[in-house]
């Protein structure tokens, strides 16, 4: 279990993590989402003790990372692919890490085989492709057979086979009761991999809930309707306060009214419905909607941290009074 409490971290005047609190439970794949620059990587680096927080705590199974003896046996982390010396072989990179944890040499061969690098284990990592370096990073994370895995953008640079492999691996690890925290900027990937989500923007928590709940919370939910008389149906739905957007082939997309009410209105007016299907917002839509105003890109230069934080209060409130509200 990973527990982050009131974590705050600034680089100079820039607040990167702002009183962030969340808990990552074992047995799930927990997705960690946020726009670029929202503080995901920094949060992960603080959890594993590479960066020091200004205040707040991050603990793993109740202990700070630095308090763990032989930490790689408890926590496996993949932070970025560039953490091996290009002049050292993959085998020796893993070997020195294994020796520092009192792990036998045979474990190095095991993880090299597990990540599919057995044949190139003696090659220097400088000759590796990004995908191979990523696999090496995953080998490092798995080296100590840890109960907790922290993976920052693990599918970066992987080919489709590799993505399929890592997705199954994460699900398998979580299925064994391990704690898996994985960040990604690919919403589609998180939608199929993550059971629950932690969403942050500008270092603050936006949502902490199951993936389906997060998608469901989005106002982008709509219902696709095909009928025998689209014109009359539209008039009736407008009157009921729905937003109706014409689609292809006479279909309409209806918002602000659920399928049950649409069906009832159609029955009342004697309109035949050929199709009535609720459309779930994609995770991407939900993410963009909820992080709107949390983006650091293109924000005018120079606003103070306080001024930046102002609009987010509304967004958090709009996200509902669920687990997402930080204050």
């Amino acid at each position: 279990m990973i527990e982050v409490r009131e974590l705050t971290k600034s680089y100079g005047a820039k607040v990167v993590i702002d009183r962030l609190s969340f808990t990552v439970l074992p047995g799930h794949v927990t997705g960690f989402l946020g726009p670029n620059g929202s503080g995901k990587s920094t949060t992960m680096r603080v959890i594993v003790g590479l960066d020091h927080p200004d205040s707040g705590t991050a603990t793993i199974g109740g202990k700070r990372y630095a308090e763990l003896s032989r930490p790689l046996r408890t926590v496996g982390a993949l932070l970025d692919a560039e953490s091996a010396h290009p002049g050292r072989s993959a085998f020796n990179h893993l070997l020195y890490l294994a020796q520092s944890q009192g792990l036998p040499r045979s474990r190095v061969d095991e993880v090299l085989e597990l990540v599919g690098l057995k044949d190139v284990g003696r090659d220097r990592t400088g000759t590796f492709s990004l995908g191979m370096r990523q696999r090496l990073g995953i080998a490092v994370a798995l080296l100590g057979d840890p109960q907790v895995l922290i993976l920052d953008e693990p599918i970066n640079g992987l080919d489709p086979d590799g993505i399929f492999w890592i997705r199954n691996l994460m699900r398998q690890l979580a299925g064994e009761g391990r704690t898996v925290l994985v960040s990604s900027h690919l919403m589609s990937e998180m939608a199929v991999t993550a059971d629950s989500l932690i969403v942050i923007g500008r270092g603050q928590l936006i949502a902490d809930c199951s993936t389906s709940e997060f998608i469901g919370r989005s106002s982008h939910r709509s219902v696709l309707v095909r009928s025998s008389d689209p014109v009359r149906l539209r008039t009736a739905l407008d009157a009921a306060g729905a937003q109706v957007v014409p689609g292809e082939d006479g279909a309409v997309s209806v918002r602000a009214l659920d399928a049950r009410h649409i069906g009832e209105i159609a029955a009342r007016d004697g309109i035949v419905l050929w199709e009535l299907s609720p459309q779930l917002a994609s995770l991407e839509d939900a993410f963009r909607e909820m992080t709107h105003g949390h983006r650091d890109f293109g924000s005018p230069t120079g606003p103070t941290a306080d001024a930046k934080r102002q609009p987010e209060t509304h967004v958090v409130a709009a996200a509902g009074a669920g687990a997402g509200a930080t204050r």
Binding site: R45, V48, G49, L50, D51, H52, Y65, A66, L68, S69, R70, P71, L72, A77, L79, D80, E82, S83, A84, H85, P86, G87, R88, S89, N92, H93, L95, Y96, L97, Q99, S100, Q101, G102, L103, P104, S106, R107, E110, L114, V140, L142, G144, D145, Q172, L173, E176
Partner: protein
């Protein structure tokens, strides 16, 4: 599938933590080509330059300034060892910086600190392993260097390993390089950028010394005496020269103290800074 992930034999602990860390740092050190090349350079440059300088001195003996020849006669051991080590020591400086700052430039430091999050034990293990390696290679260099230099100088300025101070100087050459190795690691840890750290240490070891000698009067003399490489290398000189203000062990003590201060600063910063 669980079988592939199960701990199996990895669940068993092999060796104590300190021993594991030392083994780990040894693996890091031996698995990079720069280590092998730097050490070969140390041996070759040191022996080569001693042969060159003593050879030229003997060949030109009659044309040399009498004051110069008198200096060689007074302490031929210093000539035999010093001629080569003056340049050879740079290999230790560069390698020491690479061993530490190279972790930062390659990103390996993140993997290393994830494995040893308390950080200090990693720096300690690295320092011990590297210093021991340099001491061994330093001795393996010092002995042939001395005997080669002594053989070449024999006709003009005979010196024997049994002469006063000579044995201490030959062993001292390795000791000096070992402490210099620690000094270089500390500089690498403080500066963290390979190029900057190499420039810094070469400035300290090679450039500052002649500059300090240009300073007027006793200030210059004092600064020159206490420069790390000047004070430290006194232990590799068999006899105390007329211009040496410190004895061999005093000089070595000064160098050790200066190195200890750098190591302390490096340790504090390593613990405090984000990696």
């Amino acid at each position: 599938m669980t079988a592939t992930l199960a701990p199996g034999p990895s669940g068993t602990t092999t060796g104590a933590d300190a021993a594991g860390l030392l083994r780990s740092e040894w693996t890091k050190l031996r698995s990079l080509r720069s280590t092998v090349w730097s050490l070969l350079l140390l041996v070759a440059v040191t022996i080569g330059f001693t042969a060159l300088f003593t050879g030229l001195t003997v060949a030109q003996w009659d044309q040399l300034d009498p004051a110069q020849t008198a200096q060689v006669v007074a302490d031929p051991g210093r000539m035999a060892l010093g001629a080569g080590f003056q340049l050879g020591q740079l290999a230790v400086c560069v390698l020491g910086v690479l061993v530490m700052a190279g972790e930062y430039s390659s990103g390996t430091i993140r993997a290393s600190l994830l494995a040893v999050p308390r950080r200090t034990p990693m720096l300690a293990a690295k320092t011990v392993v590297f210093a021991m390696l340099i001491f061994i290679v330093g001795e393996l260099t010092a002995w042939p260097t001395f005997f080669l230099g002594a053989a070449i100088l024999h006709s003009r300025a005979p010196v024997s390993i049994a002469d006063p101070g000579v044995l201490r100087a030959v062993i001292g050459a390795g000791l000096y390089l070992a402490v210099l190795a620690v000094f270089a690691i500390a500089i690498g840890a403080l500066v963290r950028h390979t190029a900057g750290a190499i420039t810094g240490i070469i400035g300290l070891v090679l450039v500052l010394s002649p500059l300090a000698q240009l300073l007027p009067g006793s200030i210059g003399k004092h600064i020159h005496t206490y420069l790390p490489s000047e004070a430290g290398s006194l232990i590799a000189s068999p006899r105390q020269g007329a211009n040496d203000m410190l004895g061999p062990w005093q000089g070595f003590g000064v160098f050790c103290a200066e190195t200890a201060v750098l190591v302390a600063a490096a340790t504090i910063l390593l613990k405090r800074r984000d990696a």
